[in-house]
């Protein structure tokens, strides 16, 4: 049942999409409430954590309550949580007293770096995963398939942070051809072209580490699907007609794999953010992952709340979009 228009979504599909959206909204609200409540259940006073320092003097109770009001820590639990949620609804992500800056600005500074890493990593893992997956799946059980699949299984058994550390160790410390960390040299070049090159040099290792983590998943998905396709009549026909090489891979495998890849992308959104956290920590890359991690270590709840709100919104909406795309593609295909 092929619809006439290019993009046509049946009623059932639309309802499913709407349900997906509502579920995501519910999850989002749940996360918001949780992150507002949890820090306040902490044994210990938020004010103390904020002011923790060896030189800190003993504050009078009146001074403490004044400070609490100034820092927005006053009131009962419900009042505080309500205030937090209202604030977030207004688009105000709060103020990090540890950084002395609005959380929105901290995130705006960090997000582009993470986006850069993901943008660099995506073509790598998509390219490598899909190409190797098709090659292996075209002739399941052949020698090439066995070699590639074994290699990928091996790679799948290495936890992503170990691969990242191995890359760091090999290409930045033992054989130092790439920088050990950071996003830019201490004194970036003035001219735009050398500057871009420096940024690329710094992003290369983290992006590779990020990509290696995802390659395996795509490989197995694509290989399984391609192996299925290789037994289908239209592929066998095409082969017997002498269609091979690039055309076979592109027209007969690539096209038909698109919905699967798209469905996988929707799950990748969350895993990529997770992986980028590890990668950014290991390469001390100034992205949103290391910012959030530092907020955890510093118990900077304002920043953590803001970061989680933004990241959750991003992850949830992106994977909803990819879900919708998958549906549309599946419908067309």
């Amino acid at each position: 049942m092929r619809p006439k228009a290019g993009i046509g979504i049946s009623r059932g599909k639309a309802a499913a999409l709407l349900r997906g959206l509502l579920q995501r909204l519910a999850v989002f609200v749940f996360l918001l409430v949780l992150m507002s409540v949890l820090p306040r259940l902490l044994p210990g006073d938020a004010l103390d954590v904020l002011m923790d320092s060896d030189v800190q003097r003993d504050l009078q109770e009146s001074e403490r309550s004044a400070l609490r009001d100034q820092l927005g820590l006053g009131g009962t639990l419900i009042e505080q949580v309500g205030r937090d949620l209202m604030r977030l609804l207004r688009g105000d992500f709060g103020y990090s007293h540890l950084h002395g800056a609005p959380v929105s600005r901290l995130l705006a500074d960090a997000l582009p770096w993470t986006a850069l890493l993901i943008a660099l990593a995506t073509p790598i893992f998509l390219g490598v995963g899909v190409i190797f997956g098709i090659e292996a799946g075209r002739r399941p059980g052949a020698r090439l398939d066995r070699i590639i699949t074994t290699a990928m299984s091996l790679l799948a058994s290495v936890p992503p942070f170990v691969t990242a550390m191995a890359l760091l160790l090999c290409f930045a410390i033992l054989w130092p051809i790439l920088p050990t960390g950071g996003a830019e040299p201490l004194f970036p070049a003035e001219a735009p072209w050398p500057h871009a090159r420096e940024i690329a040099r710094h992003a290369l290792l983290p992006a590779c580490a990020l990509a290696l983590h995802e390659v395996v998943r795509y490989f197995f998905v694509v290989r399984g699907e391609a192996a299925g396709l290789s037994r289908r009549a239209f592929v066998i026909n095409a082969r017997s007609r002498g269609i091979s090489g690039w055309r076979e891979r592109r027209d007969y495998y690539g096209r038909n794999l698109l919905p699967v890849i798209c469905a996988r992308l929707s799950q990748s959104v969350a895993t990529l953010f997770t992986a980028s956290l590890f990668v950014e920590v290991i390469f001390s890359y100034p992205g949103v992952g290391s910012l959030t991690y530092q907020a955890v270590l510093d118990r900077d709840y304002a920043l953590l709340q803001g970061a989680i709100a933004v990241l959750a919104a991003l992850v949830l909406s992106l994977n909803w979009i990819f879900d919708a795309l998958t549906d549309i593609l599946a419908h067309r295909g």
């Binding site: 997906g20 579920q23 995501r24 519910a26 999850v27 749940f30 996360l31 949780l34 992150m35 949890l38 820090p39 259940l41 902490l42 299984s153 091996l154 799948a156 058994s157 290495v158 936890p159 992503p160 942070f161 170990v162 550390m165 191995a166 760091l168 160790l169 410390i173 969350a270 953010f273 997770t274 956290l277 590890f278 920590v281 290991i282 959030t292 991690y293 907020a295 955890v296 270590l297 118990r299 709840y301 953590l304 989680i308 990241l311 959750a312 992850v315 949830l316 994977n319």
Partner: protein, 280 residues
């Protein structure tokens, strides 16, 4: 009760593999319980950051503890955490799937909604949030990870349960008055055991990765010694030769364990496929 005669001996021969697996788990649990007494003490000494030698086969760490002892002591903890987390996740998943099957109207809708929601929760954010609040110890890790991963199991378990319950012999036995517990133990459980094993193995792989990741970030309780936390300790020494004996052993252990698990998982899948092919 005129139920069919029990087929326990047959069950055992047929599911030798699973029984052996269960046996291994029991032995492992005993070993874990006894490891504290069996292994040498993990004490600090003034021999800090010593390379491997006859005295310390894998060298010592920055506070003079033997890496080999640490590795051995971390093994039952790491493995045990993973096995228990996976088991709890499976249990939750199975219960949910069971609820969806037993109550096909309301239960199904609620369970599937819950599963959908659990699937889209970005688990790392939740972990960070909880870790910032309180660094989890062993029990909390098991609970937390299980709560974050059970959703992976629900769909497949539900479909397997549905398939089995729909079978002729079950319907027949039910008709003849066999109780649910009896059916569960004698018909359904043996039939879904291969799937359960497969799901369990995959859960273990996931649990190993996640727990190691959390420990690597230094977000588990400070006194919980795992391979992941040993890796975390090694990160400061990448610029010195000490990485060779601080980083490599836990990294290799972790990778080796995961490799064993994935191999087992693949064999299990192959067997399941063969069996399915044999009696469709």
């Amino acid at each position: 009760m005129s139920a069919p005669t029990p087929r326990i001996p047959q069950t055992i021969t047929r599911y030798r593999r699973q029984v052996l697996g269960l046996f291994a788990v029991v032995i492992l649990t005993l070993l874990i319980a006894a490891s504290d007494a069996l292994l040498p003490a993990y004490v600090t000494s003034t021999d800090t950051l010593q390379p491997p030698s006859a005295r310390h086969w894998l060298g010592t760490n920055d506070i003079g503890q033997s890496v080999l002892t640490g590795l051995l002591r971390a093994t039952p903890v790491t493995v045990g955490l993973a096995l228990l987390t996976a088991a709890l996740a499976l249990l939750i998943g199975l219960t949910m799937a069971g609820l969806a099957v037993v109550f096909p109207k309301k239960g199904r809708a609620v369970v599937l909604h819950l599963t959908d929601m659990a699937e889209i929760v970005p688990s790392i954010l939740l972990l960070l949030l909880v870790a910032a609040w309180h660094q989890p110890g062993a029990a909390e890790i098991i609970l937390l990870m299980a709560v974050l991963t059970w959703h992976d199991d629900v769909r497949i378990l539900r479909s397997v349960l549905l398939r089995e319950i729909g079978r002729e012999n079950i319907r027949l036995a039910r008709h003849m008055g066999a109780s649910w517990p009896y059916l569960l133990l004698h018909h359904i459980l043996p039939a879904i055991l291969p799937t359960l094993t497969g799901v369990y193995l995959q859960n273990v792989v996931q649990a190993v990765m996640r727990v190691a990741g959390l420990a690597f970030l230094g977000l588990t309780a400070g006194d919980l010694l795992t391979w992941g936390s040993m890796l975390q300790d090694a990160t400061g020494y990448l610029h010195t030769p000490a990485w060779q004996w601080l980083l490599l052993p836990p990294a290799l252990c972790l990778t080796g364990f995961l490799l064993v698990l994935t191999t087992l998982d693949q064999r299990q899948q192959r067997h399941a496929r063969l069996r399915q092919g044999a009696n469709p």
